[in-house]
């Protein structure tokens, strides 16, 4: 189970409304490499892991991704909450505004709603962990694109840099977990009873 902590993992205080940035950053909320996909991917895959280290790392990184989901939602919210209709139209957010107002909806930058097709559980721990490694790299790449697009806004840049760094750390931990699982699966089996097949 989870207990909510009434604080952000990293502080976010955005002073300027900028719906244009919100329109692209929302991809890390509900896009293919976003935090919602990441948390669901790891928290779903953890059930099938063959060793304690892999279960633990998927559980704990999956939990941290929920904190990141809240951070990205906060960025989107703070960038749009005081937006005027003119700003929304100018940002090309009029279609979004029609269906969601300035609520936060899980979708990609291109407007595709979140789908579970973004994640996989393959019934194969090696395949799953390889996907997780790729997911962290893709998320890092997306944050780097967003950092390029937000270079003039330090209030947004700072938490995005933090989130990018977390992807790097998670990649490292998943690599170590994968090595452990590979070693375990490659281990020779010795049977004490010669009647065993």
């Amino acid at each position: 189970m989870w207990t909510y902590n009434k604080m952000l993992q990293y502080p976010i205080n955005i002073k300027c409304t900028d719906p244009k940035l919100a329109k692209v950053i929302i991809s890390q909320y509900g896009g293919p490499d976003g935090e919602l996909a990441a948390s669901l991917r790891y928290l779903s895959q953890r059930f099938g892991m063959p060793d304690q280290k892999a279960k633990a790392i998927l559980n704990d990184i999956g939990t941290e991704e929920l904190a990141h989901l809240e951070m990205v939602g906060t960025i989107v919210h703070q960038l749009t909450k005081n937006a005027t209709i003119e700003q929304i139209q100018e940002a090309g957010l009029d279609a979004y505004y029609t269906d969601h107002g300035v609520d936060v909806y899980p979708q990609s930058a291109a407007g595709v709603p979140f789908t579970a097709a973004y994640i996989a559980t393959k019934g194969d721990p090696i395949a799953n962990l390889q996907e997780d490694l790729a997911a962290e790299q893709k998320a890092r790449a997306v944050y780097e694109k967003l950092i390029d697009l937000c270079r003039d806004n330090p209030d947004v840049l700072d938490p995005l840099r933090y989130l990018r760094e977390r992807e790097v750390v998670h990649f490292q931990r998943f690599g170590e977990a994968l090595r452990g699982v590979q070693d375990k699966l490659a281990m020779k089996k010795f049977y004490m009873n010669n009647k065993c097949d």
Binding site: Y4, K6, L8, Y10, I14, A56, D60, H77, A177
Partner: protein
């Protein structure tokens, strides 16, 4: 069967009477400190998941967990609960702004 309609609590957990100094700077400083320790504990936990035998990391984890607990107790006593597991006489969960509202500087 009668339902007890008296909803006034008579326990002695007197957090309501706690003097509430709304000193924003102090509050933010304390919260930022808590956040630093939360981060250190989380980072060490992820590391320990794949390096459970690392004695130095384990020792640091223990040290930071204790510091974190002290800071959280100190904060919650004055500025209200960080989780719903913190007991109060008055329901203070609604009083402080939510993290996404920028109350979390």
């Amino acid at each position: 069967m009668f339902v007890n309609e008296n909803r006034n609590c008579c326990c002695n957990n007197d957090c309501e009477a706690e003097e509430r100094k709304i000193d924003c700077e102090k509050k933010e400083e304390l919260l930022q400190n808590i956040r630093c320790y939360e981060f250190a504990v989380n980072e060490l936990a992820l590391y320990l998941d794949t390096h459970p035998e690392d004695k130095k990391a384990l020792c640091l984890h223990k040290k930071y967990c204790n510091e974190l607990k002290n800071l959280r107790d100190m904060y919650q006593k004055v500025y209200g609960p960080l989780t719903i597991t913190y007991p109060c006489n008055k329901w203070r969960w609604l009083e402080e702004p939510w993290p996404w509202e920028g109350g979390d500087k």
